[in-house]
């Protein structure tokens, strides 16, 4: 008699199959799905959910990506067939034609601010770490900016490769080391050699003689200026003393 009751209790101890919660959450659009995409950078694992893209990584295998995601983001993942339009939207994002939405939940407000600010750096341009720190209202937190960028869960998409040291050294890069950072920047049209030559001479800003405006060397305002019409400055004070004002687009200094 009692055995029936015991057996019924055992029936109640049955566990849901592996991955069940992840499948339900992905189905409801709350959890994350992922797929591999062929991009200009090669194959990239991309995870997303209802709020937007939540992670991206070049990874050796699906298992490695899943393990990394679980560790860094703390949620489960389900591999799915990529939605038809997502591949195009990803390609457009990487080429700077369009903005995807991102899910940065779980990051600190500071990290979120750093990454959102990084998203504003146009393709083909770079900014120093200190610029991000000043723009988000924490001018002294340059190192913290570096840490936040090093832990960017969505490299390439949130272009942390566009943030470099003001001495021109292409710092380390989570998305594949300094070499990867250089090749992505070159792909985006940054003239690395010119940039590094300037930085090595201690020249941080370029001014245009006709407009009396000074910019970061990769700012789009300098794109059509002939080399002989540039003047270079070591710092903000030197530029201002020469009668130049900071560019309102790349904002090399507070206006």
């Amino acid at each position: 008699m009692a055995t029936v009751m015991i057996d019924l209790k055992r029936l109640g101890d049955v566990k849901a199959p592996a991955g069940f919660a992840e499948r339900v959450l992905a189905h409801a659009g709350v959890g994350d799905s992922y797929a591999v995409f062929e991009t200009v950078l090669g194959p990239v694992y991309v995870a997303w959910n209802r709020l937007g893209v939540s992670a991206a990584m070049r990874s050796t295998s699906a298992e490695a990506f899943e393990a990394w995601f679980r560790r860094e983001v703390g949620r489960g993942l389900v591999r799915v067939a990529p939605p038809a339009d997502l591949a195009t939207r990803i390609e457009d994002q990487l080429e700077g034609k369009r903005r995807l939405r991102f899910d940065l939940r779980g990051l600190t407000p500071f990290s979120q601010a750093v990454l959102m600010k990084t998203l504003q750096i146009p393709r083909g341009q770079v900014r120093p770490y200190g610029w991000i720190a000043r723009e988000i209202g924490h001018p002294a937190a340059v190192r913290a900016v570096g840490t936040a960028l090093a832990n960017n869960p969505i490299p390439y998409f949130i272009p942390c490769h566009r943030v470099i040291r003001s001495d021109g050294v292409i710092g380390n890069y989570g998305g594949g080391g300094p070499e990867a950072k250089k090749s992505i920047l070159t792909l985006e049209g940054v003239q690395l050699k010119r940039l590094q030559d300037l930085a090595r001479s201690g020249l941080r800003y370029e001014g245009v003689r006709s407009t009396k405006i000074f910019c970061f060397p990769t700012c789009s305002h300098g794109r059509h200026v002939r080399e002989e019409n540039f003047v270079y400055f070591h710092d903000e004070g030197e530029a201002r003393r020469a009668g130049y004002r900071p560019c309102k687009d790349c904002r090399p200094a507070a206006a």
């Binding site: 008699m1 055995t3 029936v4 009751m5 057996d7 019924l8 209790k9 055992r10 029936l11 109640g12 101890d13 049955v14 566990k15 849901a16 199959p17 592996a18 069940f20 919660a21 499948r23 339900v24 959450l25 189905h27 409801a28 709350v30 959890g31 949620r75 939940r105």
Partner: protein, 171 residues
């Protein structure tokens, strides 16, 4: 909105085993059990979106989910004749399970199949009370039936199940 998602994530993680077990006991096989459990949570998610924050906070999650799951099963079974006991509905065990686990799993699946063959009103009451270990008050709430009715249905269900056990030589 994000509040709802957070509540839902916790809800799924906290109750997935319980609701899957409920699905297994009510349908008698793991495939249907997973569908029932998934349907249950998706309905719960849609409902959560329409509830006020106070209502979400005061929700008796366990009884609420059981009620949804019972309704999901009722809807699936509507118009479907009660099936004969189905013993070959179990898939091979997941991963490298030891022999013993596989045996236990077969026993459990057999029991689930037998329970699921009971008439709905006895099966629902019996499963919620003795498989899911809900109190009579909780069962009564989940099924929308008076406690007395639940008690007598549980009793009859047990009786029928025991009758069958004997029939199968499980003395």
């Amino acid at each position: 909105m994000e509040g709802t998602d957070g509540v839902f994530e916790r809800l799924v993680h906290d109750h997935q085993d319980r609701i899957f077990a409920l699905g297994l006991a009510l349908t008698g096989n793991r495939h249907d059990a997973e569908e029932v459990a998934q349907d249950t949570f998706l309905r719960a998610y849609r409902a959560l979106g329409t509830y006020s924050p106070e209502r979400v906070r005061e929700l008796k999650q366990k009884a609420w989910l059981h009620r949804i799951a019972v309704n999901v099963v009722r809807n699936r079974m509507r118009g479907v004749r009660p099936r004969l006991v189905e013993l070959n509905g179990c898939e091979p065990a997941r991963g490298a399970s030891p022999e013993e686990d596989a045996l236990r799993r077969i026993e459990i699946d057999e029991l689930a199949a037998r329970v699921s063959a009971l008439p709905a009103r006895y099966r629902e009451a019996l499963v919620l009370r003795h498989v899911q270990d809900l109190s009579y008050a909780e069962v009564s709430e989940a099924l929308g039936q008076p406690v007395g009715t639940v008690k007598s249905n549980v009793h009859r269900g047990l009786k029928m199940l025991r009758g069958e056990s004997n029939g199968h030589g499980d003395d």
